[in-house]
Symmetry: C2
């Protein structure tokens, strides 16, 4: 797209109450807009990143056999009372309101209850199981303090998946497949090397058996203990002598690091389904409660973590897979030959299947480069009167300080 | 997808308080699930239809130069007070709640205010205009009575677009382009012949200048007057002697019909931008208010109207362009040859780029055909022991009563 058509301008100032690096950078570069504390709108550049993350997550969820649906935000009190999660003392993040006739309604902060209730219409027999469903949904949570920019918001996009299985073995099979799918997601968005699977229950299977995916990140709210081999990490709750002995590892080999939770997977067991009336008839005719698991990835949070991890003092620096565009084409100079050469390169890039942000604005080179560094597209093509004379392009990678001057053919081949 | 993997089952019963045809059919066929009055979740089949509608709308909005963003649902009181639209006496569809510190928040029922406020950070000069943006957003509206199924909900997906122009002429240029884009949308989803552009202000340009797109539909809430030429229709408000004289048409040539509003476009003028501080410097340095327009299409409502218009006593009957799948492949019989032939046809269809719902379940033919009619995919391929013996397929269109038995090659060619 032509940058002259992109309505967002980079900004020097940020909201005075904003202290997190991810929100500062994303606001200044025009990816998000702060509506109020903990509430951000997603601007075109941000929506492109969100779409790429969603696409990757969507592919991996489909690969484990899940089907997409979309639950409502409005929630009924009766349903959540059945599992004792309506009471504000039990769940302290509800936003609630009232219909005109006084009926109380809540706004979805999670969806185990309504999806489980929905399943009672479709699951009757062991033949109907297992069922795996996921959604990309706008969660609303009345957090006391919204902080860490878009890493902890009162409104955010989440991928939540739910598994309904006939028994624990079938559940664990899917649970373990999901761990692998999650690993692929974090690898594909560029966070593979910094993300650890940690167990919140120390490897002991209970109804609360769960794992977290933690990405090393200074802005993270959690502390994790990373083993020097770089493969094992433990949550603070389970970093104790018993766990260390179970795993046969030395305390001194671990280092504490700040980390952000980017995903979690959770075993509910059969209790919630039983409370909501979701039973099935087993092959021997016996009525049994369905076994529930739930699996979350914070999509907008992930954009925040990416901004924290992949940025420097000049701005953002997106991994290729989630960058809003493949190439930032920056035109310097306004003479006819330069403009038509840049226009041609823009068309050639597009017809070769690349997405391009084309800076066709009449601004000083310094301003254009500063914007380009701030926005953080991984590859920059610069075309100026000088490069045009040689029919060449200056190629600079966002993560490197050196550039090289090459022909269009070579530049395309190296993309 | 294999129907055995689709967790939704068709249902005979519907919620007792459901009286609208669209919701009845969509619930029974497994496209939506009723959460409470006026609130529906979207199940996999429904989400496929919604995605197709969104894709068509998205392409047409891009064709007029609009860029996609996504605004927050949570709204701040201060902002809406500036335009006097926070007060419940002025706007009676707000859902409101409170943060933990007592701050009131609202849930977005429309987004003129926050998008206009956002623009003050990006629009300063005439060089920055015009700006066109749109979103697919989950609107929340506290309707007194939610009725007409998914055609009037308390929660629904809307495409809302906003235009910011330097003056009325530039605005009207875009406004008229959008009328054409909207016509294309309704044509592409299959409603071209039944949808009329009606003017709510009788063709007189005011700050409230607006047009509606009305689809003839028994379940519609509006009455429109359609001229016998089939090209002109008038809203009830402007169907009077003055309008008829202005247009030089006879009252007796019009017939009243029930219609559902599927889209509307609206001129705000400069007032709202001025209230929210959105000004620009004109080329002569003069400070002026930006000229605002807004343009809506109810995406989930459109699915409801499609269900009303394209259905019969057997069930839904989707137009090709918005059908969840291209083909419903129904296998009768479970013998090895039949299964492998059906599996092969399934693979062939997919490798030819068609999406297929493959009924691989072991059910009676009558049950399978009833489900197929209810779900309403436009083309059905039936494979039975009998057709396999001849290496043929029985092809039946949902809208036709006759079927024909042809080879796979012929069947593929006719798709």
């Amino acid at each position: 797209m032509r940058q002259s058509q992109l309505f967002t301008k980079t900004r020097k100032e940020i909201p005075s109450d904003e202290t997190s690096k991810n929100a500062e950078l994303l606001i200044r570069a025009g990816f998000i807009h702060k509506e109020q504390a903990g509430v951000y709108s997603i601007l075109p550049l941000g929506l492109m990143v969100v779409s790429k993350i969603k696409q990757i997550v969507s592919e991996e969820m489909k690969s484990v056999g899940s089907t997409e649906l979309l639950m409502s935000s409005l929630q009924s009190k009766e349903l959540w009372e059945k599992t004792d999660r309506w009471n504000d003392e039990k769940v302290d993040v509800w936003f609630k309101s009232q219909l005109k006739n006084g009926t109380e309604v809540g706004f979805g902060w999670s969806h185990e209850e309504p999806i489980t209730s929905l399943m009672t219409y479709h699951v009757k027999s062991y033949n109907d199981l297992p069922v795996y469903v996921h959604q990309f949904q706008n969660k609303l949570r009345n957090e006391v303090r919204a902080k860490a920019g878009i890493m902890r918001c009162r409104e955010f996009i989440m991928k939540d998946m739910y598994s309904y299985s006939t028994n624990e073995e079938e559940h664990m099979n899917f649970y373990n497949k999901t761990i692998e799918a999650y690993k692929k997601v974090f690898e594909r968005v560029g966070l593979g090397g910094n993300t650890f699977v940690t167990s919140a229950s120390g490897g002991v299977f209970t109804d609360k058996f769960s794992h977290e995916f933690q990405t090393i990140c200074d802005a993270g709210e959690d502390n994790i203990y990373v083993h020097k081999d770089g493969k094992l990490a433990l949550n603070e709750e389970v970093f104790n002598d018993k766990t260390l002995a179970d795993l046969n590892v030395e305390k001194s080999d671990f280092e504490m690091k700040k980390a952000a939770e980017v995903g979690n997977i959770f075993t509910f067991g059969t209790k919630k389904c039983e409370e909501l009336g979701l039973y099935f008839n087993d092959s021997d005719g016996e009525k049994k409660g369905v076994f529930l698991g739930s699996y979350g990835i914070g999509i907008t949070r992930l954009m925040g973590v990416l901004a924290e991890v992949f940025s420097d003092d000049k701005g953002l620096s997106w991994p290729k897979e989630v960058s809003p565009f493949h190439v930032h084409l920056v035109r310097l100079g306004v003479n006819g030959t330069t403009v038509s050469f840049a226009d041609k390169v823009y068309d050639d890039l597009k017809s070769n299947g690349f997405t391009v942000l084309y800076d066709d604005r009449d601004l000083r080179a310094g301003e254009k480069f500063a914007d380009s560094d701030l926005i953080g597209i991984p590859v920059r093509f610069v075309i100026s009167d000088k490069t045009v004379a040689e029919e060449k392009i200056e190629v600079k990678k966002r993560k490197e300080s050196e550039s090289e001057v090459v022909s269009l053919d070579v530049a395309l081949k190296n993309l």
